[in-house]
Each structure stands twice: as C-alpha cells, then as structure tokens.
Amino acid sequence: MTEIIDAEQAVRNIREGMTVMIGGFLGVGEPLLLIDELVAGGVGKLSLIAVVGSYPGGGFGVGKLSRNRQIARLVTSHIGTDPELVRQYLAGDLEVEFNPMGTFIERIRCGGGGLGGVLTRTGFGTEVAAGRARIEVEGEEFLLYTPLKADVALIKAHRGDRLGNLEYRGIALNSNPAMAMAAAYVVAEVDEIVDVGVIAPRHVGTPHIFVDALVRGRDHQERKLEFTDLWVDSGRLQ
C-alpha cells in the first residue's frame, strides 16, 4: 500500500551511508521539497545516484546536497554544472563514478527489471572501457555494466492518485520512471494528489505497485514561479 505522508516523514528513513537515487535533470523533474528536507535533516555520507548535478551554477535541487557536503559517493554522467561537486571531486573528498548517460539509465532499468546487466558499445576505446568485462555477441564486442539499485529513491511526478499511480508531465520524466523500479523504498513527490480513477490508465507513467509513499510537493503554479525566477536570474529567460 502506498502511504500519503509529509516530506519530513518521507526522508526520515534515510540514514547515514545509504544509497539514494534522486530523479530529475538539472532541476526539472526533481523532487525539490524532498531534497530540502534531506538537506534540513543533514544526514551524511550518502551514496547518491543522480543522472547529472545541480542546475547550472550550483546550489539548486541536488546541488543543495553537495553544498551541504552530504554526498560521499556519486554515480552520475555529469557534474560540470555543479562547481561544488567539481571542487569536492578534485580535492579527493568525493568519489565519482562517471557513466555515459545512456549506460547510467540502462543500469538502473536493469536493477529494477531483474536483468543481469547492460551490454553497450558506448565508451569503446576510451578510459571508461579500461578494466571492464567484454562480451562478444553475434560477432560484435560489448562492454558489460552491472545493474544499479538503491535503498531509497526520491522521485518526482506531476500527479499521483491515492493508490500511488503516477502521471508525468512535459519532459519531466527523465530518470524518474526507471528509478521508481530500482529502489527498496520509493517516495514520489507530486504537484497534486487526486482520487483513484482521475488518472486514466493509459496516462499512468509509473504503476502504483512501485510507489511506497506519496508526498504532496509544491503545486504547478508555485513551481512555475520558482523556475521563472531561476531562469530569469541565470539569464536563460527574457
């Protein structure tokens, strides 16, 4: 059963050293309220799995976790937008495992979907291929990547019904549907919580059986104001 709880309750299960997946892409589709609570709680030495770092310039969304030095290890494809992650990585305070973005998401899909790994040609001839197992399939060689799983996934959707079915909106799916399947405990932050039946079956992006807890985040209008400020202040919107 999916429980409907508040953000503070939702992150209470996250303890020092745990592996946490956080959905979203440069702020879009990120569970911003849950991240704020995780920062307020201050739990440290997290092993974070997130596709990219903060919104460019740092300090937004997952960028609050790096600024608060709560991450010990990171699996990602890109940290270049987050000066704090780059600084901690270069100083040796943060371990980073870089994966090509397509490999990153497939590893999570494998983790949730009961598959033994990803076979990809991406990265051949580069340093990411060094020391990695190679498997020949039908005469072609592939690099093997193992599945990724987490103790907790914090994800974001547009709406959730009281059963936990999730509907996504716009381009804000990104890593969320894959992460919803790959963690022992999955919390979804949503703009609104609606009655069962309001979200048509064909519009369910993540079925409720994957979702353990639903948290009402900021509504769409509040997020529009927040992102307008962010984009205008960073010169990305006139």
Binding site: L26, H78, T81, R109, T122, R236
Partner: protein, 217 residues
C-alpha cells in the same frame, strides 16, 4: 561575424528536411538559429524529447519543459516527450541522423576528445559518448586553434578520448574537413584564407583535392 557564428552558420547547411538531429551545448545549439528556410529538422534533446521548438516567452515558460542544458524550451506541434531510457535507445540505436558536438581535439583517425582535461576540467561525458557511438553522422564544431594558437585538429588526440573513429565532418572557423579512411580531406576554406594558411594552422596532415571550395555562410 564572430568565429562561433561563422561555424554555426556553416553547420546549418548540413541539415536536410526530416533529419533527426541532436545538438550539443554552445556552437551546435546556435546552429539551429541558421537552418535554411524550408528545411525542417527534428531536434532531439537527450533529456527526453523530439520536436524541440524555440525559446518561450516568460508567460509560456513551463517548469516541466527544459533542454539538456537546463534552458526553458517549447515543443512544436507533433513533438513527443519520453524518459531517458527511450531517449538513449533513440541515440544508441542509430535513430539520430546527425549529431553536432563541440570538441577539445579531433584527429586524423576520426577520434574525438571532448569530455575531460585531467586534473583541470572534469565535467563528465553526459550523453556525449552515446551520441558519438550511435548517431549516423557525427559533425564536430570547434575553433581551429586553442587560446594559445595550438591546432585542435591533431595527428593524434592528446586528451582522453570520448570515442574512436566516429567523426565524419569537422567544421571550424578556418575550414571544413571531411574524415575519410585515407585521412582528413580539406573540402572548404574560410574566404580570407589560402589553402597554405589552413595547412600551416593544422597539426594533422591534410589531403588536398583538386578543388577546395570557399565557405559561404
């Protein structure tokens, strides 16, 4: 016209109607502003859409719509949004006709280095390695020389590689260079330059065909 706009304008001439194109951040993204009239390309963004439109007004900006650089976007009629797994099936699976990416260095074998300078710049590869591995045509947009005047078109890349033997076309502020099995072929040069100027400015050996055209942008 500055060098970046010159390169962006020349790259836009590579686009054909109906092509699925993924543009990297910087000069490649700017090339979308110069697509010839009547040429409709389908822009893919690796964070999950096909059919990227122009930037929105403040009123139309939507917190659930941004490109892979975090900038607000619009979607054109007929656009589709999807998750990252689908997006990278499109990319790796050979369903992107062309990608345009920036680079730190490219070389005679079609190798490209564009993801790190050890100890200095360590952003990560993002979706770049997947695009290089999967796109049907790889166009590289870069200035011919670095800040110290050193050629970025090398005999052999010195920086860590992003992919091996994948580059098809190199477009710089000085030249358009085609990567072939025989080596780099000089196809076009910037209007104010001679072939000798470009050869002198290039670390890699260039194959000189009978005619080298002038870049018109």
């Amino acid at each position: 016209m500055d060098a970046r706009e010159f390169i962006a304008r020349r790259i836009a001439q590579e686009f054909r109607c109906g092509m699925v194109v993924n543009l990297g951040i910087g000069i490649p993204t700017a090339s979308a502003n110069h697509v010839p009239h009547g040429v409709d390309v389908i822009l893919q963004s690796e964070n999950g859409c096909l059919g990227l439109g122009p930037r929105p007004s403040r009123a139309a900006a939507d917190p659930d719509l941004a490109n892979a650089g975090g900038e607000p976007i619009t979607l054109l009629p007929g656009a589709a949004t999807f998750d990252l797994a689908t997006s990278f099936c499109i990319i790796r699976g050979g369903h992107v006709d062309a990608t345009v990416l920036g680079a730190l260095e490219v070389d005679s074998q079609g190798n490209i280095a564009n993801w790190k300078i050890p100890g200095k710049r360590v952003p990560g590869m993002g979706g770049g390695m997947d695009l290089l591995a999967g796109a049907r045509k790889v166009i590289v947009a870069l200035q011919h020389a670095d800040k110290d005047g050193d050629s970025k078109i090398r005999k052999h890349c010195r920086l860590p590689l992003s992919a091996v033997g994948v580059v098809d076309l190199i477009v710089t502020d000085k030249a358009v260079i085609e990567v072939t099995a025989e080596g780099l072929v000089l196809r076009e040069i910037a209007p104010e330059l001679t072939v000798a100027d470009v050869v002198a400015a290039t670390d890699a050996d260039l194959i000189l065909p009978a005619t080298v055209a002038t870049i018109h942008v």
